[in-house]
């Protein structure tokens, strides 16, 4: 059963002529990692904010449809429950961190829920360990690297022990090392617990191999949902909606346009690519 369901959801910011999100329906499976890919202005951030109720609670506009958590409409649930079941970390980590130390930052959320000290303590330890920050509990957030800050922002939401973690463009503000650390964190989240992760990005590079499903968002509409192999087939299609295709996908398209590869043999990761190229070269028989 889906942990989170978006049913026919639309939202238009007040004063805008066009709706930012139009008729979105999506079932999120428990434990999956799903990436929502879309270009600038596609509605990724707005979509993230509808998932934990910030939209429409804090933003003025017209909202229709529903977001269901375990079958219940989040509109009817107490805010404390919504916020503790669905954790949202926004794009810019700088804007979120304001305490004296890493552990206090992570403790802020469970403190707000009024949890007892021992519960807060165990959640802080868990969140820091999952995000790879366990060695830095007393460090000042301002002294951290960009990648560490992003992971701290995520840790400070993980301490809510949410069933669903929503990460809005977590890679966009990071340098390569920060991105590598974050992707490694996603791997360990996947292995460790059945936390469902929804993340957004405007690039399929790097993220494609890490997720179970991909949803394409184009100007507020979902135009494709499925496994990466099903969705990442045409780099032109991705580019036309503003999404950066993986370089290797572009390579495979180039190879097939040069008749060196069949169209069905499109790939976007190194291993598959190596295999397909070598078999295409070595004899050209079989065709698969």
């Amino acid at each position: 059963m889906s942990v989170l369901s978006i049913v026919g959801m639309s939202f238009r910011y007040r004063g805008q002529s066009a709706a930012t999100l139009q008729d979105i329906s999506l079932d999120i499976e428990r434990g999956e990692i799903i990436t929502i890919l879309g270009g600038d202005g596609a509605g990724k951030s707005t979509l993230c904010k509808t998932l934990n109720g910030i939209v429409p609670d804090q933003e003025k506009g017209e909202f229709s449809g529903a977001v269901l958590l375990d079958g219940r409409n989040i509109k009817n649930l107490p805010r404390s429950e919504v916020v503790s079941r669905i954790g949202l970390a926004i794009q810019d980590p700088e804007a979120q961190l304001f305490t004296d130390s890493v552990e206090e930052e992570v403790a802020f959320a469970p403190e707000n829920l009024g949890l007892p000290w021992s519960e807060i303590d165990s959640r802080v330890r868990r969140a820091l360990s999952v995000t790879g920050l366990a060695s830095l509990p007393t460090k000042s957030p301002s002294a951290l690297s960009g990648g560490q800050k992003q992971r701290l922002a995520i840790a400070s939401v993980i301490s809510l022990l949410p069933s669903v973690l929503v990460l809005d463009e977590p890679l966009s503000m990071l340098d390569p090392r920060g991105r590598a650390e974050l992707l490694a964190m996603l791997d360990s989240l996947k292995q460790e617990r059945s936390m469902t992760v929804i993340l957004t990005s405007n690039s399929a590079e790097e993220i494609a191999v890490k997720c179970d499903r991909i949803a394409l968002l184009d100007r507020g509409r979902l135009v494709g949902v499925g496994r990466p192999e099903e969705i990442l087939t045409s780099p032109d299609r991705l580019e036309s909606i503003g999404v950066e295709p993986p370089q290797l996908l572009e390579l495979s398209a180039l190879l097939s346009s040069e008749k060196l590869l069949n169209r069905e043999q499109a790939f976007f990761d190194e291993e598959t690519g190596a295999g397909r190229i070598l078999s295409a070269i070595g004899g050209r028989g079989g065709g698969r």
């Binding site: 469970p110 707000n112 400070s156």
Partner: protein, 261 residues
């Protein structure tokens, strides 16, 4: 630079004192100062406060910046004072409306010393207390938690703010903006390309922060708990009791004329 970012990350005796004690002491010091008129007493108190400040492990650079900040203010005050206070004898100078008398100058000196003493009290607070603990101290003394959070956020953003202004100046300079030349009007106009981005960035940060606070459950439970809290020890309680009684004694005996200092 930032006055608010002067916490000294060391372990001195004053670091271990509960923030509430330090806050109450700074407040009482401010009040009691005005009841002391004897210059010798003021000087001794001033020197005593400097010893306390140095005991925090403050580095020379921070200390001298704060010192000169207060000094500039005091010097101006001392120079201006005799315009308004011309009581007493003997008159030291006679320049039209500027007639400093010896008693007036001594009163000005007393005020200057009081400013230093008061500043020292608050400086000790800022040198030995992390922002989070400072705010926690105010909240436990009665400041509503929401105000406390606003204070925390302001303390955290102020240094950033100032740093950003420098970066903006650089960015605009590379588009040819001359910010340090021209007459007053021109320079004021040239501040616009620096101020507008500053405010725009601040507003965006505030927006992001409010979403983050919401997502982290701010306000979800009116009865919030605390992880790294501040706790009064026996020594803290004794210290407060002592300070309050000494202050009360000083004020009462001065007012009743029992003692003269």
């Amino acid at each position: 630079m930032a006055l608010v970012d002067i916490y000294v990350p060391k372990k001195s005796p004053l670091h271990g004192v509960d923030p509430r004690v330090k806050i109450i002491s700074a407040v009482l010091l401010t009040v009691v100062c005005f009841f002391i008129t004897d210059l010798v007493v003021l000087l001794s108190l001033l020197l005593y406060m400097q010893i306390l400040v140095w005991s925090t492990g403050v580095n020379l650079k921070t200390y001298s910046s704060s010192f000169w900040l207060v000094a500039r203010f005091s010097i101006i005050l001392m120079i201006v004072w005799p315009f308004f206070d011309q009581v007493g004898q003997p008159i030291l100078l006679d320049l039209w409306i500027y007639k400093p008398t010896l008693p007036a100058v001594l009163r000005a000196l007393a005020i200057a010393m009081r400013i230093f003493i008061i500043a020292s009290g608050w400086l000790i607070l800022l040198l030995t207390t992390r922002h989070g603990q400072l705010v926690r101290g105010f909240v436990k003394l009665g400041l509503p938690y929401d105000f406390g959070i606003s204070l925390s956020i302001a303390l955290r953003y102020l240094p950033n703010f100032l740093g950003t202004i420098d970066q903006i100046k650089e960015a605009q300079a590379s588009r040819g903006l001359e910010s340090s030349r021209g007459n007053f009007v021109k320079r004021a106009r040239n501040m616009i390309p620096v101020l507008i981005p500053t405010f725009a960035i601040a507003f965006r940060a505030i927006e992001g922060l409010s979403e983050a606070l919401h997502s982290r459950g701010y306000g979800a439970n009116p009865a919030r708990t605390y992880y790294r809290d501040i706790n009064m020890t026996v020594y803290d309680s004794i210290a407060v009791a002592l300070i309050v009684s000494v202050a009360a004694l000083a004020v009462v005996s001065k007012v009743l004329g029992i003692a003269d200092f």
